[in-house]
Symmetry: C2
Subunit: 577 residues, 2 copies
């Protein structure tokens, strides 16, 4: 089956669900529809056909060079030429200047079409965002137009073998050369598209330590290290002292080279400091926030594709008897399969609504008329980012697994394509900060801001959405109401000074899931009230979500509140007794 | 890291948990310990080292011949020569005649060591069981000793492209040749080890239709079709008209060839009827029940290996700060990771207890002194079989996924081995009847026998186990008590004549999970009361299960009882509107 860009759902979510109670469509609806149509067609026709072959062929490394799968070069060139790399990038540097929400939607379709290739612009966008926020005017002028157009690409170089989630352990060094540049030496692993054959230059953003840096994360600085040192006219010049020492053999996204990068084998790679010395972590967070949103989006993109694939198969494949069919019925008619498909759709569409709501908050944080509104919007974006990253990638994994299951034995055969989705998306709960780290971020840093004011606002909006949709939800409204109450109780418990830190950490993942279920259920309810004839599935999705997903809430609340949990049981069973 | 056979847990579960309140150890404890030690050593030393390479190399097909991965031939020969193929097979035909529970335990270790290779004896055992139950004395004498010793292997040929779960759609034909044999023509797909280079002969059991057979499942007969027709002296003679037309490229268990088999290209494969004409389905169920137990066991075997692998990594890998450690702490010390590891263990050990309880029931059904006891035991085995198959394979998938997650980025790299477990086990919820089919079997055919008497007995035993362990469980006892109550209410609801069939089918999977959580939690509680110093982890596991797994029960019960679920929402969202 072939994936079709879900333009109607995306457009409806962007314009009538994500903006919030007082929000507006991110841009003129008709213009938006044209952009989405074009992006969808591009993704369907130019990118999606490469996906299976990219998995089979994979990326290849030889003597430091990386060859990407057949067709990537032409497709990426067309992607950049058509302006899709620059949708929501600043006009000052050649971008289209459209809202983040719009760029998020076009990127979702690119990701459904081929997740492996889509990881390239994700990293480039993150690098461009970091430079825009922290680099000097000169550096911006030199690098940003090319990163934004897609002529050059960008990378994030954080991880080292001994330092994955714990950046305090970084060892890569940067020594001032006396001429304003630095010499970088060290090795980085897991660098997405660290080396490839798709662009004329690669701009590495590298975390490293200056000689006098304090230990830990307060001694990390960010450096720009180009693969080719730009000539004065801006063309790529002589090669820098950077090489790709190999790529990983991975479970999925095999078309996306995951590189080991070695800096300074021949004395030191030439780099430039980005932002202030020893403030590299703050610069990196600029990249990471966007990257976390886009990683969450990967969960949605794969969930959408998996749902379409499973539904097409379930309507075609005939096995067994079911009411309303003579002879063998399509398996979609079996109640368990129908319920599975409905749950897949509810997870997919609620996840999309959460991610687009976060994107809308990012836009409001940049463009709202008053400072107070901008601050509130920034708080909302910051609160939702870990939820988008973790909840939506977990959803992607579940839906991809359900797609395999709906296919039965065919799901285990690689030719079908379901197995590839299952493998590809498995990285998303891991990279850009594991989902457990997202949950800890949510619980320890996000919900407590201003005494929990922003969570309280999310809960109030959810109650308003529920009240407006109560008639459409019928008896199922009760489940969503219980879930909202559960989120309120859980938040109060976690914010209480009497709650131990260990207990917060133990239940952080339960809390994040509860948050995602409540927000997703409320947004589906909001969509149900806004739905026209073309959105007849939204009220159904809202009911299914309430019955089958929001219904998890009481058990999650029990786990969060449990006074009987014994941390020493966990520690002993983990082998730390 | 290297997997170690979990002899202590297996021995304890076999002797003190699975036998039940009035049960006995399946055999002398010291003899059992010796057998398990030997089987564990064989699995660790001779089989486990082949696992990674078998995934990389895979099985290969050329011109009808299948080459298995390096080392399989020697390891399988040693496996058979040491008698491991025959542990619980009847002594009359060369087996060791030990209880099914003991054979189940040795097979678990074989499966942890290399799931791909272990699929071969699973199918051979199923074929031997079907012949023992249904074949003529002559056929038994000719085939059983060789199938049981492992000199020859067996297959189950059910699936055809148009007939997966729905055997009514089978088309393969069998025509009487007039000499007591039949000529079989047709194609079968997904035949595990349908062709290979590990044994001198392959005995195919094939479902096919006689010329005058009624339509549907009442017109299916079972035939024995050897790869080589045996000579009068029992040696393999001339080749039969059977060929392997290809093997599948699969997500996992790549060392296990999944064959397309073509019967009768040159006029008809020679076959013999097994059991009565048109009663093939009943014969096949004999094979399937054992195969379902052993498939559930695959979930446990992979969960055990994944848990060991994750724990070893989490104790070794140091990232971030945690209480009690100077500098970077092992990630096992982070509360979320410790809790994940504890949940993995609770799922693994509770699943094992469920499977071994089912095996013990199979043994009691064969050997109990009175007919009444044997009938009750058969009812218990029949009730637990779908739970073992579905609950334990779902557990295997969850635990394998958690193992990937605990490894972080390394989990996505194939060299680590976590990804292989995640891929290998994904087939288990699909084959031998999808987990949804198991749930439907449980709800529509199993729980209602004798008015639900056997479920009532399971619930009564769970309450007794809980009462005995109440002191050890402390405040967590309440969660298990609620779960047991939930199972009782859910069972009553499903057995009520007022419950609609569609509603039963919709919530069958919820019910099966609830059943598995209650039984698994009760068996861990039983183990906690029996635990000596060497089982100090059992009371902890019972508490963790109650808090983190049994705690799901109220939400599952809500879903089962919900009066607001609308089947038409599911149908419409599935695309059947």
């Amino acid at each position: 089956m072939s994936w079709r860009a879900p333009i109607d759902d995306i457009l409806f979510t962007l314009t009538q669900v994500a903006p919030g109670p007082d929000g507006e469509s991110p841009m003129d609806r008709d213009d938006l529809a044209i952009i989405l149509d074009e992006a969808g067609r591009f993704a369907e026709e130019r990118i999606a056909p490469l996906d299976r072959a990219s998995d089979i062929t994979g990326a290849h490394w030889q003597d430091g060079a990386v060859t990407t799968p057949p067709g990537f070069r032409e497709a990426y060139a067309d992607w950049a030429a058509a302006g899709w790399n620059a949708v929501s990038q600043p006009e000052d540097f050649g971008g289209s200047g459209l809202p983040t929400a719009v760029g998020t939607a076009t990127m979702e379709m690119m990701t459904s079409a081929c997740m492996a290739l889509s990881t390239l612009p994700v990293l480039s966008q993150g690098a461009a965002d970091a430079l825009e926020a922290h680099a000097t005017a000169e550096m911006k002028a030199l690098y940003l137009p090319k990163l934004i157009s897609g002529e050059w690409t960008g990378t994030m170089n954080l991880t080292e073998p001994q330092a994955g989630s714990d950046l305090a352990l970084l060892r890569t060094k940067a020594v001032p050369a006396g001429d304003g540049t630095f010499r970088i030496t060290g090795s980085k692993i897991f660098i997405t598209f660290g080396e490839h054959d798709l662009a004329a230059n690669i701009i590495h953003l590298v975390l490293a330590r200056l000689p006098d840096a304090p230990p830990g994360v307060k001694g990390i600085s960010l450096f720009l290290v180009p693969k080719f040192l730009p000539n004065p006219d801006g063309t790529p010049g002589r090669p820098n002292d950077v090489r790709c020492a190999g790529i990983e053999h991975k479970l999925g996204i095999k078309g996306s080279p995951t590189c080991t990068m070695v800096f300074g084998d021949a004395g030191g790679a030439i780099g430039w400091l980005v932002g202030e010395a020893n403030k590299g972590l703050a610069c990196m967070f600029t990249m990471m926030n966007k990257a976390r949103l886009l990683t969450g989006l990967q969960g949605i993109a794969i969930a959408e594709k998996a749902t379409q694939m499973a539904q097409a198969y379930a309507l075609e494949r005939r096995q067994g008897r079911a009411a309303g069919f003579d002879g063998a019925a399509p398996i979609a008619a079996h109640p368990d399969v129908a319920r599975t498909l409905a749950r897949m759709k509810a997870l997919t569409l609620s996840s999309r609504a959460i991610a687009y709501a976060a994107a809308a908050a990012i836009d409001r944080a940049a463009t709202s008329p008053t400072a107070e509104e901008r601050v509130r919007a920034e708080m909302r974006a910051s609160l939702l980012t870990p939820v988008v990253k973790a909840f939506c990638t977990d959803a992607g994994c579940e839906v991809a697994s359900s797609c395999v299951q709906v296919h039965g034995g065919m799901g285990f055969i690689e030719e079908t394509g379901a197995a590839q989705l299952f493998r590809d998306i498995r990285i998303a709960p891991i990279y850009e900060g594991t989902n457990a780290i997202q949950a800890i971020d949510l619980v320890t840093r996000k919900i407590g801001r201003e005494g929990g004011a922003e969570v309280a606002q999310v809960i109030a909006e959810a109650r308003a959405d529920l009240a407006a949709a109560a008639g459409l939800l019928g008896g199922s409204a009760r489940r969503l109401a219980e879930a909202i109450d559960a989120l309120e109780s859980a938040t109060a418990h976690l914010l209480a000074s009497t709650t131990a830190d260990t207990d917060r950490l133990l239940v952080a993942s339960n809390y994040l899931r509860l948050f995602g279920l409540v927000l997703g259920g409320a947004l589906l309810a909001r969509g149900a009230t806004q739905a026209g004839d073309a959105q007849a599935h939204w009220p159904r999705l809202a009911r299914v979500h309430a019955e089958d997903l929001a219904a998890e809430a009481p058990a999650l609340l029990n786990q969060i509140l449990s006074p009987n949990r014994r941390a020493e049981d966990y520690r002993a069973l983990a082998g730390l007794a």
